[in-house]
Assembly symmetry: C2
Homo-oligomer: 141 residues x 2
DNA sequence: CAGATTGGTAAGATTCTCTGACAAATATGG
DNA sequence: CCATATTTGTCAGAGAATCTTACCAATCTG
């Protein structure tokens, strides 16, 4: 049976999601999936709540709810945005950066597994095809 | 910036998800995303609640909660499983099949859009790569 | 046939998300 | 430069989705 590519993408995406959250938990950080998904969107120099909400496609209230939790867990902090007195930047704490590091490591590991399984050519073709697809599927590109 | 393939998959997958749910709503069926995701796993001849829960990676209680809603909306029905008196099969009603039809139509349309955007070769390579990836990412394959 | 397993339900709590309303800071158009 | 609109974020309350624990009935297994 030929599955729709979107289903295949979902399967692979969920695999990554699961592996990353597992690794983060094994490292002793008790993150929920919703928290992890939001945290994954926090930029290097901090992000505004509104931007996080837009990227994650949730309301800013929901994003605020999750940031509150991450803040209580000591993984992120809110600092004033020097560019706009209304806004605050959500950015990782030292402890939060440890979580990021764990996640990045697993992601790189999975990348290696995929490249090995597919071979360099097919892997490159996959990456390239997905990138091209983004042009017609990403509302923020 | 080279995004992780899983992120690219997530973007494309969410695009499909959004389009399908929109179309179903436009057709006059008021489904939530969670209901739609579960319904998408109901097989042609009906599926057991336990199987639905396992595939969707939620508890059977959560699956039952969603099936209750779909049942109340007249989209699915529970019939005794002739093979096992403990079990019941969740299957689409006539009305439910209309929803399935709408969803299938949108999925085919998106497939055409992707094939046109990528060209036949790159599209085939994408499908092939994703299928191969499933071998190491699908816990149910 | 006795115990273990499987399919499903019940009750209650928690997590996640939404809508609506609001305050403060900023941007914009006369 | 001021009045108005927009942007950024919060608060309060409600609904949706999920989980854990406990349980019953049917089936499988040794």
């Amino acid at each position: 049976m030929e599955l729709h590519p979107a289903v295949l993408m979902f399967i692979a995406g969920r695999h990554v999601e699961t592996r990353v959250v597992e690794a983060v938990r094994d490292a002793g950080f008790d993150l929920t999936l919703a928290q992890a998904k939001l945290a994954a969107r926090i930029g290097e120099h901090g992000s505004r709540l509104t931007d996080l909400a837009e990227q994650a496609q949730i309301t800013k209230q929901s994003a605020g709810f999750l940031v509150d939790q991450l803040e209580r867990a000591g993984l992120v902090e809110r600092v004033p945005d020097p560019a706009d007195a209304r806004a605050r930047l959500v950015r990782f704490t030292e402890r939060g950066l440890q979580v990021v590091s764990v996640a990045r490591t697993v992601e790189r590991q999975i990348l290696r597994e995929w490249r090995r399984h597919l071979g360099p050519e097919r892997f490159a073709a996959l990456q390239e095809g997905l990138t091209a697809l983004r042009e017609i599927t990403d509302p923020y590109a």
